[in-house]
């Protein structure tokens, strides 16, 4: 996910189908044209509302705000607090970090020494192997969480393994997956990563039934949609976990949910995750740091404190479209986790908005001009 050069390409028209009408959300201060009175030269030349919108976007926009890291207020700014802070740094880096690294290493040793035999020796006995692998994956995730001194409070009933249900959650960092996985072995759908993460994905996470996609491939969507459908129908597959935002957001806002998870004909169980910023900013800004650096940052912080709410399962209401369903669930999650909703598609991080939105503005202005021309 190291698209840090920001090579933008125009989005395919497929992405348009995912969004409800953005115009309902966009802050349009003044309408482009006061729709009354005969058309005069001043009306045509007065482009101030459109310019104001553009300047407003340059000065501050809701999309960029979603991906801003929350750096904590520096509190070490005076003579008394500074030594305390220095002591804290020494403690974190020289005592906590090595201790955590050791814990994590022990965890990996235990995990691998159990997982490798189970994986290869029990090839014939699938049901038992899957059960053991599930437990082992939950175990290594617990070790990971311990390595950041993760304090996770789970609220709500623990997810059960039933067919025809998917879980959706808001997305702040890849650690969301680890935090949820230590409670219940989900099969998650993720972007395929390079490096050591990719290696883990193709070996260990395969065993819990994870599905990979590649954001940059257009055809990929159909293949993935098919895989999702197949997985959710299977009775003994691990419950499917989907992050419908499609990208990491900074835990203050939520971007629009992709409808893919909501048109599988399954019950959707929302999960809300909220990190406590006082301890660490858990937002993984993939443009700024690699996942390894992100993990190291977590391991040298005091703790990762978060709340996880398992919310009431939702079903598609009669007459509701998949997009409306997605928005309704996003509402539920955003309210629970205290997130502000923005009307943008998370994938706009990687591609430009479709020309459809500009065309809508152009169309309404054009119609207004023609109409006013007729007036006497």
């Amino acid at each position: 996910m190291s698209t840090n050069q920001g090579k933008l390409k125009p989005s395919s028209s497929e992405l348009d189908l995912d969004r409800p009408n953005i115009e309902d959300y966009l802050p349009s201060g003044a309408s482009i044209q006061e729709p009354h009175g005969k058309l005069r030269l001043s009306d045509l030349l007065d482009i101030s509302p459109i310019l104001t919108e553009a300047a407003g976007a340059i000065v501050d926009d809701s999309f960029t705000r979603c991906f801003k890291s929350n750096s904590p207020e520096p509190w070490n700014w005076n003579v008394y607090l500074f030594p305390l802070w220095c002591f804290g740094v020494v403690f974190r880096y020289l005592i906590l970090f090595p201790a955590r690294a050791i814990v994590l290493t022990i965890g990996w040793i235990i995990f691998l020494s159990c997982f490798i035999p189970v994986h290869f020796l029990l090839k014939g006995n699938d049901a038992l192997r899957k059960k053991l692998e599930r437990v082992l994956v939950e175990l290594i995730c617990s070790f990971f969480v311990a390595s950041w001194t993760g304090v996770v409070k789970y609220h709500g009933p623990r997810p059960s393994m039933r067919p025809k249900q998917v879980f959706v959650a808001n997305h702040t960092s890849m650690i969301d997956f680890i935090i949820l996985e230590q409670m219940t072995a989900f099969a998650v759908i993720m972007q395929k990563h390079p490096g050591w993460v990719g290696l883990l994905q193709s070996t260990i996470l395969e065993s819990v039934g994870c599905i990979w996609f590649n954001r940059s491939e257009a055809k990929d969507r159909e293949i993935v949609a098919k895989k999702l459908r197949e997985h959710s129908q299977g009775a003994d597959n691990n419950p499917l976990l989907i992050f419908p935002e499609g990208t990491c957001v900074n835990n203050q806002y939520s971007v629009m949910f992709k409808k893919g998870a909501f048109e599988l004909g399954c019950t959707v169980c929302p999960i809300a995750i909220k990190y406590n910023k006082i301890f660490v900013d858990a937002f993984w800004n993939s443009r700024k740091q690699s996942f390894t650096m992100h993990l190291l940052q977590l391991m040298t912080s005091w703790a990762v404190v978060c709340d996880v709410w398992y919310l009431e399962p939702q079903n598609l209401r009669p007459g509701e479209t998949a997009i409306e369903f997605a928005e309704r669930v996003r509402d539920i999650i955003s309210v629970r986790a205290g997130l502000r909703k923005v009307p943008w598609d998370g994938y706009l991080k990687y591609s430009r908005p479709s020309p459809k939105h500009r065309e809508r503005k152009q169309q309404s202005f054009a119609e207004s001009v023609l109409r006013r021309l007729e007036e006497k």
């Binding site: 933008l8 000065v59 065309e359 021309l373």
Partner: protein
């Protein structure tokens, strides 16, 4: 002024304030600098067209290409000067001047029929035919006492737009 440092000195702030004719307060200039650094992802000291277009709200604006021509590659001082027309403290003349500059793409101080036609094209896209646009523009120009061959200068713009209450203000968020 350091491109890569994210600290503005008091001297820098005052210099920028002078350059934009005190259109922004010192607090606002600090906020704008934060924003500038946020947009300037590769730290080159200026915001490129690509970086501006990565703001979806800007990219969907019909006049984004015209504005890009004016704002591409500006350093921070020029960036603030560019935005000064949108400050609440800007005068009506400054705002009209800005609008004039948007129309006058070749910067020769004269706005031709084609310049106005181009902007109208940006605003209406494919929803009005080229002929209709010419027709509309000729008609309103005629009623205002100009012809197709007229070359409008800034004082003409002042005359035309001076009486309509131009609402062109943007609030700079200050923490």
């Amino acid at each position: 002024m350091g491109n890569t440092s994210s600290m503005l000195t008091q001297y820098d702030i005052e210099e920028v304030q002078q350059h934009c004719n005190k259109a922004f307060s010192q607090q606002e200039i600090v906020s704008l600098y934060e924003r500038f650094c946020q947009l300037d992802r590769n730290g080159g000291g200026f915001v490129s067209a690509e970086e501006f277009l990565s703001v979806p709200e800007f990219a969907v604006n019909p006049l984004s290409q015209r504005l890009l021509r004016m704002v591409d590659g500006l350093n921070f001082k020029e960036f603030v000067a560019f935005l000064s027309a949108f400050s609440p403290r800007a005068t009506l003349l400054q705002r009209i001047e800005f609008i004039f500059k948007v129309y006058d793409s070749d910067g020769n101080g004269k706005v031709t029929f084609n310049d106005m036609l181009d902007v109208l094209h940006d605003l209406t896209g494919q929803f009005i035919s080229e002929n209709q646009r010419k027709q509309v523009l000729t008609q309103v120009l005629d009623e205002a006492g100009y012809t197709k061959e007229s070359l409008l200068v800034l004082s003409d713009f002042v005359k035309i737009l001076g009486s309509s209450g131009l609402k062109m203000e943007v609030e700079v968020p200050v923490d």
